[in-house]
């Protein structure tokens, strides 16, 4: 039968046309796209056939799916602000009304993470840095937080109203914006660090029995149980996580600078150095085990790379493999 005579029911009974609709064969797709472009007067019947095919197959058309996907993207863009429930009707309206501005808004919202929590009396906004990547959080007062891997920052909804209180688990660097009369306070367990216009780092991982406060600039007051201490720039204070055991040390400013910039450098590193650096960097417990008689050294530079990439490099070069057991990551010879 001549294609020019085709009606919807003929199109749908043409196997090649069906494959074009379902996009299951590239050649058929090519053929029908060309053909329909050449004979635009057949497009209406073909569209009818296509619609019928999807309905009879209990399938959703790609166009309908695209609309749904648009709604999802719009919802995801605003999902990180605590709103009770998303109204799909509202989103449908937005999506239908303005596709382009919406795309722009989606981009804006996803690239500019909303830091300010919106509602609720005792609600928190949670920021979590995942397994191996750190995360930057800009707080409502303009302070910047670099949240290290495996760390969680709780920001109360009332943050920056009268007070600036935060709760941290793990490790983060705080670059505190100056704000008169609004003390900036970070709590982890019973340890509190208070600051006014300063940059400091607090580390208190769950696996670690120690906590550490590192002061880059400005001034902080550290309080735990009955102990209180003030730090000056360049000083690091370590203490027990459960009970105060304050010890002050000088820290290596170069190491902090490198941490801040996200540049991880191994220079002729021994197994112990590798373990210590990875633990310091990614907030995990690491043990590097090597075969006797096979000393290893590792060189490498990583810029903001996730842990798995760094591990892959370390393992590949030295013929090792990594295994996670409980809280600890073991880097060990490949077992045979």
């Amino acid at each position: 039968m001549d294609l020019q005579q085709y009606k919807a029911e003929d199109f749908i009974l043409n196997d090649s046309f069906v494959r074009y609709c379902l996009r299951s064969n590239e050649k058929d797709v090519q053929f029908w796209e060309d053909w329909l472009e050449r004979y635009p007067h057949k497009q209406e019947e073909a569209a009818k056939a296509r619609d019928m095919l999807f309905r009879l197959g209990l399938r959703i058309t790609p166009e309908e799916k695209e609309v749904e996907f648009g709604k999802l993207k719009a919802a995801i863009a605003v999902a990180d602000t605590p709103v009770k429930r998303i109204s799909w009707k509202r989103i449908a309206r937005i999506a239908a009304a303005a596709v382009l501005p919406l795309a722009a808004a989606t981009w804006w919202l996803t690239t500019h993470h909303p830091a300010a929590p919106a509602a609720g009396n005792e609600s928190y906004t949670l920021f979590k840095a995942g397994d191996s990547l750190r995360r930057q959080v800009m707080l409502a007062d303009g302070s910047l937080v670099i949240l290290n891997a495996h760390s969680t920052l709780k920001v109360p909804a009332s943050f920056n109203e009268q007070q600036r209180n935060l709760i941290l688990e793990g490790e983060a660097l705080f670059e505190v914006a100056k704000a008169e009369g609004k003390p900036f306070m970070v709590r982890t367990g019973n340890l509190q660090v208070q600051a006014l216009g300063t940059a400091f780092k607090l580390r208190a991982y769950r696996y670690d029995e120690q906590a550490a406060v590192t002061l880059v600039e400005g001034k902080v007051r550290v309080a735990q149980e009955t102990a209180v201490a003030e730090l000056v720039p360049g000083e690091q204070l370590t203490t027990g996580k459960a009970h105060a055991r304050f010890v002050k040390n000088k820290f290596d400013p170069e190491r902090e600078k490198a941490w801040r910039s996200g540049r991880l450098v191994f220079h002729n590193a021994s197994p112990d150095e590798i373990a210590a650096t990875l633990g310091y960097w990614y907030g995990i417990n690491v043990k590097v085990i090597t075969r006797k008689n096979k000393p290893i050294r590792f060189n490498g530079v990583f810029n903001n790379k996730p842990l798995n990439e760094v591990l892959a490099a370390v393992c590949f070069v030295n013929g090792l493999q990594s295994v996670t057991k409980n809280d600890t990551l073991f880097v060990q010879p490949i077992s045979k």
């Binding site: 919807a8 095919l53 209990l58 399938r59 993207k73 309206r93 397994d131």
Partner: protein, 213 residues
């Protein structure tokens, strides 16, 4: 009964569990692309399952988007499930159940709409159910009643089960010519109803969603 040919629980999308773990990981790193890949991969299966147990398209679409937004919201609290596809499918089932019980307040809930073990409905029923517009539903029901059981069987095999005419011929002992003509005659009738349905759908798109949502 909708047979297992395109059953959702067993069949999956293009990707395996390994890729899914990667997508999930991306999502937990706040990269929504991971979530979107899972969404595109599972959508058709979810949709198909949804319309076969539940009321209309609109509800199914809403339920699918809902679970993906929920997962995104909880991405930092959720551990990676061992079987991501199975996990999401259970989430989806629960969501459908919630939507059903919510929307059905006041009306009687028939057994077939009760979870956790929803029954998949016969092809004809689902064809009618997936339509959103009540007028179209009614017309379709009337039209389907006029078709012979042979016609309905062939339509289901060809377009729902994706069998070729030759395969249907082997299964039913009818000649390909007969099958072709039988389907053709049925399609001429079905087409009238669907043309109306498409028209109504287009009309609704043009109206401000406020008025009918």
């Amino acid at each position: 009964m909708l047979n297992a040919h395109r059953s959702t629980e067993s069949s999956t999308g293009r990707y395996g569990e390994k890729e899914y773990a990667g997508f999930w990981y991306e999502m937990q790193q706040d990269n929504e692309q991971g979530l979107y890949k899972i969404y595109h991969d599972l959508y058709d299966n979810f949709y198909h399952y949804g319309v076969s147990v539940v009321l209309d398209k609109g509800m199914v679409k809403e339920a699918i988007n809902d679970i993906f937004v929920d997962i995104w919201r909880k991405r930092h609290q959720l551990d990676m499930p061992e079987n991501i596809q199975a996990y999401l499918f259970i989430c989806f089932k629960r969501k459908l159940y919630k939507l059903l019980t919510k929307n059905q307040k006041g009306t009687v809930l028939t057994d077939s709409q009760l979870f956790p073990e929803p029954e998949e409905q016969p092809y004809e029923t689902v064809l009618i159910r997936q339509e959103t517009d009540s007028l179209v539903k009614e017309k379709l029901e009337k039209m389907l009643a006029l078709l012979t059981s042979r016609q309905k069987e062939f339509i289901r095999m060809r377009f729902y089960e994706d069998l070729s005419i030759e395969e249907i011929a082997v299964k039913t002992a009818a000649t390909p010519r007969t099958i072709y003509n039988t389907i053709h005659n049925a399609l001429v009738r079905i087409r009238e109803v669907y043309t109306d349905a498409t028209f109504i759908a287009l009309l609704l798109l043009l109206i401000d969603p406020e008025n009918f949502s």
